[in-house]
Subunit: 143 residues, 6 copies
């Protein structure tokens, strides 16, 4: 089995805020991230698919297809967007790096598994860098 990874980037805004808390409590827990004007990041996404390389093409998955799915299912929804205000899964869930990793996994897992070209390959790992200093990784519910 080979793990094949494709990287992509998007730029988005977000804030951390719990509506059931006071402003003071939000600031105590979330610090500068609690600023409701929002701030943003250049996120780097790494999507890893696992499978056997096809005997004819040498591909675990066609990288052009993988790129198209990442663009359609993630970048078109997240890039140049405000995650809290424009992306449905973060309407009530705080878009921490951890939660973004899970949300992108769910989006890609749904989008990739119906592809004929995925054959026996499976989504194995989603890693998301908020900055070069902080990143989260998710491998699915069963991992």
């Amino acid at each position: 089995m080979v793990l094949l990874t494709r990287r992509a980037t998007f730029s988005a805004s977000h804030y951390y805020w719990n509506e059931s808390w006071s402003a003071a409590e939000n600031e105590r827990i979330f610090g500068k991230c609690a600023n409701k004007y929002g701030h943003g990041h250049n996120y780097t996404l790494e999507v890893t698919v696992a499978g056997e390389p096809d005997a004819v093409t040498g591909f675990v998955v066609d990288l052009k297809t993988l790129k198209d799915v990442i663009e359609r299912d993630v970048l078109d929804v997240y890039d140049h967007r405000h995650l809290n205000l424009e992306v449905p899964e973060f309407a009530k869930t705080i878009p921490t790096t951890e939660n973004i990793a899970i949300a992108i996994w769910r989006r890609l897992n749904a989008g990739l598994n119906v592809l004929p070209s995925m054959r026996s390959a499976k989504l194995a790992r989603v890693r998301i860098y908020e900055t070069t200093e902080i990143f989260a990784e998710y491998r699915g519910e069963s991992a």
Copy 2:
């Protein structure tokens, strides 16, 4: 003369919008950047000071002092902020990478030139990366 550079990073939101244009015109000119919910970036700032190294310390400028000025005059104002909505110089000026370079130059030039520890050193260059793909550089009005 030696050029000494210190790098710093901040995360901020912005959008591109000209109030005198229609929404359609803003979208035609600014594309995805015209989304008024805002989007954001991890900006990387490089501040370059030029001067002779001090014969005793070997410093063009004390890097701790330089860091403190960058934090006080730039990071405290820009980091985890929405540039259009919270930073005065972008109330009516679009925070493009070019304009951010000029604005940071002006902030630092004012802050650095009053420092006794700058001695004969001078701000020489401000470079700002919006992403790893795009950056702007400004060397002052006379350059």
Copy 3:
């Protein structure tokens, strides 16, 4: 004046070979680069334009337009190509990093200067990385 830089990448093959020399002489001067099967690199290109930011848009040059010109005039010709065998300027000129910098400058200078959106801006610098260890920079005939 602000310098605005956009980065792009392309992957290409090349070799170093002087037809008027013997194979032994080519190997003596060019070492491993003289292998006529070719070898290749991921080139990173940085294109820098200099000008005043437009008072309305804040742009020295529209980055989408700049990207389109880089794609049309450089990437479409160089990317996934063999520089010696497929790119006309290297039919008789060895595609060293130095010569690639000059060739890309000439292509972009011709392509950019006819753009209305360049207004008063001018191509200022072309930098090309052959690897992270080696890069060449060209600023035009008059620099």
Copy 4:
């Protein structure tokens, strides 16, 4: 157990082409990679060995020895070469990133396991970056 990784780089050409297909079919499946003049990359290789650090030296494996084996068994064969035309394992197998990962694993696994200095250490992982955007990882037949 500690995983110890050493990185190396090489520059090579390749193309994607299936001799049993028409040119049109090759272009449909492989796109720009089907150009038979070849194109190239700066590959980055990460070789990971797993084992207990030696109580006296603190080494899982002597890094100088590991470097020598990588140079002898991989770089001397792949660097500044055309993978399809000069490297035996790609005479009939397409040198996709996935297949390169497997081929390098096999080369290193054979070369490393006979080393006395590997003691109880074992090759654990080969990761190969074709570009910063695309990489493949292989952990051996049994992984």
Copy 5:
């Protein structure tokens, strides 16, 4: 389960020397690293914690707390220090990258597991880069 990683850097000196060997033997085994004046590196540390994101905060672990523990338990002891001469665990153990990975794991595992804010999260992985070319990873005694 999500893996959350925070990166940190420190600069330190070290040398490789076995007191029970002759100088010649130290040089034969450790090469340039045997220079007892010491040499140094900018180490990059990646600390990975595994757990379920908290339903309210979205955090596996509060990153500010994690940063504080890394600073207190690792950076305050290692940064701008000579590892052999100033850090107790390397008084008799050679500070190879492998041994530094284990030592930092032990420091952080002790410091993190007593934190109330770690809740169900656990230290999962310590990765340490001596240079961009060499890194070691440790996942604990039971891994």
Copy 6:
């Protein structure tokens, strides 16, 4: 004229200390850098040569020759060394990044200008990164 740059790296120890000051004064001015056990860095050096590419070879300077001079005149003296204690120019001069840039310029300028293969090329710039956050650049006495 083309600027051609080659990068190299070395790892070294140093400290900042002025013998004519008290320990307290050294610590006040130099902070953590005043630790006389020393600390260290992975330095990245960029050496830039300016000239016309040769009409036959396409080289401003032969990169193998440039690499050899950098190794002989800089790396053999600085790499895996304690700058204060083993490198003559820092016996009485503090090895700040600024002073290292000047010292390497002087070493390379002497070494390069006697090379026949430099022809009309000249050393144009030395840039030295102490970390990714801090770098100094020197262009010679007349710049």
